[in-house]
Symmetry: C2
Subunit: 326 residues, 2 copies
């Protein structure tokens, strides 16, 4: 993504091309509503259900765009990434659809279900120690050995253009939105959202929702430069990663505000979605509802789109049955 | 429902009238599919998602039909029922939409979430001891005191006609079905399914799916007369109740076969639906998939509709986190 010191910032054309490229490989996911949650928040909420997306998460969009956009020569050695979460699974899904190999470097301490998910889609898992230095060393070995194309989980123009297709669908599915709220971790989804909305619906407000216990984006946003957390810990495990230069560009330029929620608020919102909407969503996906419930005045009377980012939950280890939180 | 010794068997006209009557009060629920579950079963499965129904269960259909069909005079004293499950909640929902009171007699040992659900929709809970004699005595008191109209959970022609609207939608939503599989407890849903399909799609096979540990319908079906279980116990708690004369009529006349599944198979199927389809469904709703997985030859190559009956789960007490089953 960094080439000759330049950074390739994806454009509206890139997003539109992504949409064409991936349309046969990903779902146009449904938008769901809940009278109860509307009553509770005083807003009209429209949930874009990427938990129903291929491989269970919005990351199938960006991963598919990256994989399908490779030339034959680029694709011949397959793709590789490091991820202990949805990006690894989704990249494997996309590689499988193109029929090329995919290697995912993961800490040996990553949950077994995540390793199983990558293998279930036909990917190869290579384990590293749970440290940045080990991950980088092991990943370099993988690339040297395979010649695979690196697809970063979020700091990649192809990935961001792909994620932008989600809000492109949303604004076609729901008229008259006032705002969109999406979770923020590394910033891939929020950057795609900014890319699309700043071009196609620039009057919409864009809120990023972040766990208090991993609030590096919140602090970066307020400081005006990237601040990385030191080993953040949150139940919303998809949101622990830091912003990078490309996502920082979108966040610092287009995001209206970043709002945070406590662990308890996130788990309560997650349970509320399960109970009231009858859908299985990840903790990360509940952060937007948690910040809306915490900041009712910001959203009251508004038509608000919420990106439900994914549904890949280990149902044997739910946050409220682990004994950590009730 | 028993009048002058006669039994009112609902007709296609009753179902069609129910559909008109309730259409503004219940959802036409979506049909979802899963490539993974198709691959696993060798069949093409179409899940009719009544977990997204009003009040979280198909029983909103029958309850709404009963409540909305009452004359002004019949409705003036409200409605009452005995139920520790979805019928109580759904009858309360329907009564609330008509603006009449609803009383639900429940064992004092019923789960708090069920009592809270009835109260949450504005209903009154009256507790009895957990025995048939206490329930009947308390219920008689409630009716004497209020003059409320009794709406039985399933042995009621209005309720069965309402439940029949579910498969009427399903056959419009999915072309070329070969079979429909629905859970069986008291037999309200399966009777409604029989009513509709025997008239509108008589070539479809109708399978009832039942827990092995509450297999009174299976044994009745094979014996040719109603056999009641003695205190059945199953994780599919909506399916513990016995057949009654009206539901027995439909089951004995129109059902192709009754297939059973073990507790472990039901819980495995439930987890599979949660993990793969990302929807919250009750254990009862998983019994059809469990019997399909157990009897692959019956369904291989077929287009099979499955009624997902509801999604009212106590997420704090999941079957696989209770320590009873893994």
């Amino acid at each position: 993504m960094m080439m000759d010191g330049c950074i390739h910032i994806p454009t509206l054309q890139d997003m539109l091309a992504a949409r064409q490229r991936i349309m046969r490989y990903v779902h146009c996911t449904p938008v769901q509503t809940s009278r109860t949650l509307n009553a509770l928040t005083g807003a009209q909420l429209f949930f874009k259900c990427e938990n129903f997306q291929k491989a269970g998460a919005f990351k199938a969009r960006g991963a598919s765009n990256a994989v399908l956009g490779l030339s034959q020569r680029q694709a011949q050695n397959g793709v590789a990434t490091h991820s202990s979460g949805n990006h690894g699974t989704c990249l494997t899904y996309a590689a499988g659809r193109r029929g090329i190999p995919c290697t995912v470097v993961m800490p040996r301490t990553a949950p077994q279900v995540k390793k199983d998910a990558v293998r279930g889609y036909g990917g190869r898992v290579v384990e590293c120690e749970p440290s940045t230095s080990s991950r980088e060393a092991v990943f370099a070995e993988v690339v040297a050995e395979t010649g695979a194309e690196f697809v970063h989980p979020y700091n990649d123009h192809r990935v961001i253009a792909g994620q932008g297709t989600c809000s492109a669908e949303l604004i076609e599915q729901v008229d008259g939105l006032d705002a969109v709220v999406a979770p923020i971790g590394g910033g891939g989804m929020i950057s795609g959202t900014c890319l699309t909305l700043s071009n196609l619906a620039p009057h919409l407000k864009i809120y990023a929702a972040e766990p208090e216990q991993a609030d590096d984006a919140y602090r970066s946003f307020n400081a005006g430069y990237i601040i990385a957390d030191d080993a953040p810990n949150t139940v919303a495990d998809g949101l622990k990663v830091p912003l990078k230069e490309l996502t920082w560009h979108f966040v610092s330029t287009y995001v209206t505000d970043i709002l945070t929620a406590s662990e308890e608020e996130i788990v309560d919102a997650m349970k509320l979605i399960w109970k009231r909407m009858k859908i299985v969503v990840e903790a990360s996906s509940a952060v937007p509802l948690a910040v809306i419930l915490r900041n009712p005045r910001v959203f009251a009377g508004k038509r608000v789109g919420i990106i439900i980012t994914g549904g890949n939950v280990d149902v044997d280890k739910l946050p409220w049955t682990r004994g950590e939180l009730q």
